[in-house]
Amino acid sequence: MKNDNLKIAVYICHCGGNISDVIDVKRVSQELATYPNVVIGKEYAFMCSSTGQDMVIEDIVKSGINRVVIAACSPALHEATFRGALKRAGINQYLYEHVNIREQASWVHKKDKEGATLKAIALVKAAVEKMARQDELNTIKVPTTQRVAIIGGGIAGMRAAISSAAAGLDVVLIEKQSHLGGKLKRSSAIYPTNETAASVVETLEGLIELNAKIKVFCNAKISSISGFAGNFQINFEFDEAKTEKVEAGVIIIATGFDHYKPYEGEYAYGLSNRVVTLPVFIDIMGTSAEKKLIYDGKTINRIVFVHCVGSRQIDGIDNAQDNGKVNDYCSRVCCSSALFTINKLKDKYPDVDVMDIYSDMRSYGMEHETYYENASKKDILFLRRPLEERPTITPLPDGTFSVKTVDVLTWNEELELIADMIVLVTGMIPNEITDLLEYMKIPRSSDGFIQEVHPKLRPVESANKGIYIAGTALGPMDIIETLQASNTASSKAVALLSQPEIHMDPFVAVVEEDKCSGCGLCPQECSYEGALCMRETDVNGNVKMVASVNQALCVGCGACVAVCPTRAINVAGWTLDQFDAMVEAIAKG
């Protein structure tokens, strides 16, 4: 269905006055009605309404319309709506062009009605020219492997494995350490449920062991990841010398986080054994004797907690990290975790004095606020420092510490405290997974954690389709949040693999083989491994080298298009011939 027998219908939407108050919609539709190849030119109050859509469908069915142009709001809002209408009318949904005359015309040219109308006419003509050169396009269907590969066997990975397997998918769980459970294995009680971490991990392990659909590989090191949504291949070594190749339709990254490790001298860290991080202190508390807190051979009577170590850092005040940047983000869980721990500490050792230096207390969870309140009741001395001030901690010759800090509640006075143990409330940092991210072509956010495709509405989806992220690989989260995130990641996996084929948009590079001269310029422009290569092909009985596209890997950027001397390669739906014609129509007006 090339240019012969074109029957294009053009509709101009009033958008209930949003457009028609500025643009003379009648004039636009009338002018277009007589334009070459256009057989219908109409305007209507709301094209997106079911009546509007029905009108389009009726015209297609009754008048044999085979291309549709609608000028209305942004395509972001209704392009899919009208494609759906074409589909329902029984014609190819891509024989449709959406012209934006609201956000990009009527709303911005309110005071220039004539200009806006002329602009609308030119834009709609351009769209008609585009449609005159539009072929049917078809959704690309990629068969899928009904298996999920999960990288990381901490609680996030384990939870995702259990959910995905329950939904009927095969699961391969790949863990670099010798055991599952990740960081949680080591810590003791967890908030808010007060369960032991070990019990949570054991429960998950039990469920995994019982499930024949889940295969676990420990001591694994991934050496390569290739493929695309529906068909990934992961190669890894495990148990020393064994190698394994796994095919999976979806990858879930559950690589977790690392604890921030203070540098030597940061709040006296490394200068004394009795300056410890919160995770270490939680371990100490888990095994310490009753009645008296003895650590490093000394009875501990006064402890100072310092919040935001390695978090909420400020350029120019704090030292940059290895990546050259400060950790300017909040680690989310540390305030609540510190308060939870302080309460435990006071319950176990009521006589230990606790001082807590913070800037904002971020005990945001419903139950977490009670930790704060309970701690306050237990005579914890909370000292609030201004955001930019840092406490100074100096080890004293007698083994105690001098802690100097500014307290906003007392006229910003500098106070000196003496303590015999310091707990640095350290935050979370991203795990070192640079290789993995490179294999998968996934970017990091400015905080170094994995970047989601949209932080608001698509928080577990990566930029690479078919790869989802569970838990703290995304950023700091507590245990419940981690498990919710991993459940959501598996929900995406189940949705993607719910059909034996994945359906993808057809806007990828297409080669007209008879036009291809085999010059080989285009693959050099392509940044996507495997997406475009030269291949010996039989073209109309003539075997020659032509460009060949792997549609599942092509992202449709068009880098190849610009260098083709014969215009043999184009992005489907966005061809150069179409753009030339559109520019021509615009220039003519």
Partner: protein
């Protein structure tokens, strides 16, 4: 394309805010049938009424409408708006849910959303979509980007002049329309019932229900929205463009005296976001945020907070003891600074926004004995491993119905609840 057969569905989702929309989409995408019951005339919940969202500053409407549209067009999802759940009964293989579709007094299949009825109607009313700041007609389409685009007649305020019916080009006004009841059988239910904000008068000292220029955070969302009631940020008492605006944080959270002892989690961030938007809309305005702790704990939030400080938004650590007003309706805040230990002082502003906390919408679940926590939010039965589970087999929860949270956290819970529901149904098959 699968059409849902009569009143039988796999999963019934109560509520079509972002939590309900997302869980319905996830379940539908996984190949199961979903029915959404929404009591309001449009889907979209609270999110569709917001201005922009933190920290991306995406326009809330622009990112919500596609979800609303996706749900509307999803072959596996059926949405019933302006429909209330009346009763839920647990039966052996799921639930029986009695619902009642309220009359719009409009023949829905006929309506072309042309708004002629609304134009013709002579009765002006407070618009609940604008949280009282805007005005609607006794018959009106709920808001610009409502889905579905169907008008609703507020029958109790109709003067029966017939103007709407006369204006309707399709004769689809029906004053005698009656509620329609039906019973839906569902294998599982997801409660995505969201939240209400704490009513403005709750904290007596703030007189939020009587002072004209003391407004709620949701009202200020509307002031800032591109399609807001005034088209510009104005204060309600006299339409002045405010140039000295204050936010009172924890105005009804972390406060035992009003039985909201918990942190509402979103107020710090929405106040910062609104302050930034205000600074953009009113470059000359002074904007102060009175706060106790700034809880910018989500991804990218701390950086957003830093950006706000760099923009010159003034953050003052202070408790607000009392709010009154002068003869010009300028609110006067009695503030107790926490930073320099000075005595309480009075600060006058043009406009004050109370960062209202979050309350659960429901205390009862339609006859179903759903366990709630001490604050009235739905209690998780397995809070660590399966937070979406409730005490009732097959009844799941997500989003703010389970406790205050922001949009990304809500989306995470929606997906999680969808996963649990899908696996629950699968386990029973």
């Amino acid at each position: 394309m699968t059409q849902i057969t009569n009143n039988i569905t796999d999963v019934l989702v109560i509520g079509s805010g972002i939590a309900g929309l997302q869980s319905a989409l996830d379940i539908g995408d996984s190949g199961y049938n979903v029915t959404i019951i929404e009591k309001s005339p449009s889907t979209g919940g609270k999110m569709i009424s917001l201005s922009k969202v933190f920290p991306t500053l995406d326009c809330a409407s622009c990112i919500t409408t596609p979800k609303m549209a996706a749900v509307l067009h999803h072959p596996k999802v059926k949405t019933m708006t302006y429909t209330e759940v009346k009763a839920i009964r647990k039966i052996s293989d799921g639930f029986e849910v009695d619902v009642e579709k309220k009359p719009r007094y409009v023949i829905e299949e006929e309506c072309i959303s042309c708004k002629k009825c609304e134009e013709a109607c002579p009765v002006y009313l407070d618009d609940e979509f604008e949280y009282g700041l805007g005005v609607k007609k006794a018959i009106s389409i709920p808001f610009t980007n409502a889905i579905p685009q169907l008008p609703v007649l507020t029958e109790s305020k109709c003067i029966r002049c017939g103007a709407c019916a006369k204006a309707c080009p399709k004769d689809c006004i029906d004053f005698l329309q009656e509620p329609v009841s039906m019973t839906i059988k569902a294998k599982a239910i997801i409660a995505a019932t969201g939240y209400e904000i704490v009513p403005m008068g709750t904290k007596k000292e703030y007189s939020g229900d009587t002072l004209l220029n003391v407004i709620s955070s949701l009202q200020s969302e509307r002031l800032l929205a591109p399609h807001g009631p005034y088209g510009k940020v104005l204060r309600p008492s006299d339409g002045k463009i405010p140039d000295n605006i204050a936010y009172v944080q924890c105005a009804s959270s972390r406060d035992k005296s009003i039985d909201v002892p918990y942190c509402s989690r979103v107020c710090c961030m929405y106040a910062i976001k609104q302050a930034m938007l205000l600074a953009g809309a009113l470059p000359l305005a002074e904007i102060t945020i009175y706060y106790m702790d700034i809880r910018a704990f989500g991804k990218g939030y701390e950086q957003f907070y830093a950006q706000a400080r760099a923009m010159g938004i003034c953050f003052v650590k202070a408790k607000v003891a009392k709010i009154s007003e002068d003869t010009e309706h300028n609110p006067i805040l009695r503030i107790d600074r926490q930073e320099d230990g000075s005595k309480p002082q009075d600060q006058t502003h043009d406009l004050v926004i109370l960062s209202q906390g979050i309350l659960p919408t429901r205390k009862d679940f339609f006859g179903l004995d759903v366990a709630l926590n001490e604050y009235g939010f739905i209690q998780s039965a397995a809070p660590t491993l399966s937070p979406a589970l409730t005490n009732i087999d097959g009844f799941f929860v997500c989003g703010v119905a389970r406790g205050p949270k922001d949009i990304p956290d809500t989306i995470m819970e929606a997906g999680s609840a969808a996963m649990e529901a899908v696996n629950y149904i699968k386990g029973k098959m």
